[in-house]
Symmetry: C2
Subunit: 141 residues, 2 copies
DNA sequence: TGGGCGAATGATAATCATTCTCATTATACT
DNA sequence: AGTATAATGAGAATGATTATCATTCGCCCA
């Protein structure tokens, strides 16, 4: 179970990925949940030498190629995941916990989407915010 | 059309807002587009003395009360808007420009939502990412 | 009406994820 | 091999957001 240098298909034509970009993408594909850049860096370091800046640059490139997406974590860090994982969450505004939805409510909407401007859609983000059961009770007032 | 100190109704029971929290909320209601915390601070300063920290604290409180929501701007700053404005965007991954959608595709979905866990939903965020027409051509490869 | 107290505020420092710089190294191509 | 170009890493810089902490405000009640 290692370096699948096969993870390629995407929204773009033909992404020529560097070894590091491919390594980042592979780790993201191996993980069940979204990872922060720094978590990614730690995981990658277990197998090879790589700088943090390179991880950030790889993430930027992969995102521009429509291969990965990101959402904002509770503590102000971006969480990255492959575009193919169409996963959404209920997120608590108080404690930051995220509860996964069991299916995407806008899957087919994206294809039917009729933008008023020409635009090439790679992916979407959808998230519901509110209060989880415990937090809903201990809210002041 | 000015300072409605009446902007109150929300998802929560009875939000007792401070003068500053109300001022922040009022400015957000007056603006057509989402504002960053620092833009808000500048606008508020035109009418009254208020510290930047207070603006951030007001935003946090208003968010916890389900009165406002935020999305990540292109340059790493959070953009705040009232929850009542159900507006979504196509955002370009390359240049950061945002193009508004003309209607929300998940409006009624939110009410029908059947979470696997008890959860009080205040609002949702939905955004489509990709490349705008100009950027789609000048992408390397 | 004045005192007391907890919440709110503001100035400022601290935090910390992300980005920038720049010297070095790998890669592609002839 | 030799050169041009892109990628990399270490570390410094950036900048939005948070934490501190001393001061002030709003509010209740004797
Ligand atoms: Mn989806
Ligand atoms: Mn909506
Ligand atoms: Zn919670
Ligand atoms: Zn663009």
């Amino acid at each position: 179970m290692k370096s699948d240098s096969s993870t390629q298909e995407s929204a773009t034509s033909s992404p020529r990925l560097t070894r590091n970009q491919q390594a980042v993408l592979d780790v993201l594909h191996q993980q069940a949940d979204a990872l922060s850049a720094q978590e990614l860096h730690s995981l990658l370091r277990e197998q090879q030498a790589i700088g943090l800046a390179t991880v950030y640059r790889a993430l930027e490139t992969l995102k521009l190629h429509g291969l990965i997406k990101s959402r904002m974590g509770a503590n102000g860090e971006a969480l990255y995941s492959p575009v193919v994982s169409d996963q959404h969450y209920l997120t608590c505004l108080q404690c930051g916990q995220s509860f996964p939805l069991d299916h995407c409510p806008v899957q087919e909407l994206e294809t039917h989407l009729q933008p008023s401007v020409p635009f090439k859609v790679y992916y979407h983000t959808l998230e519901f915010f509110g209060l989880c059961e415990p937090c809903n009770h201990q809210i002041p007032q």
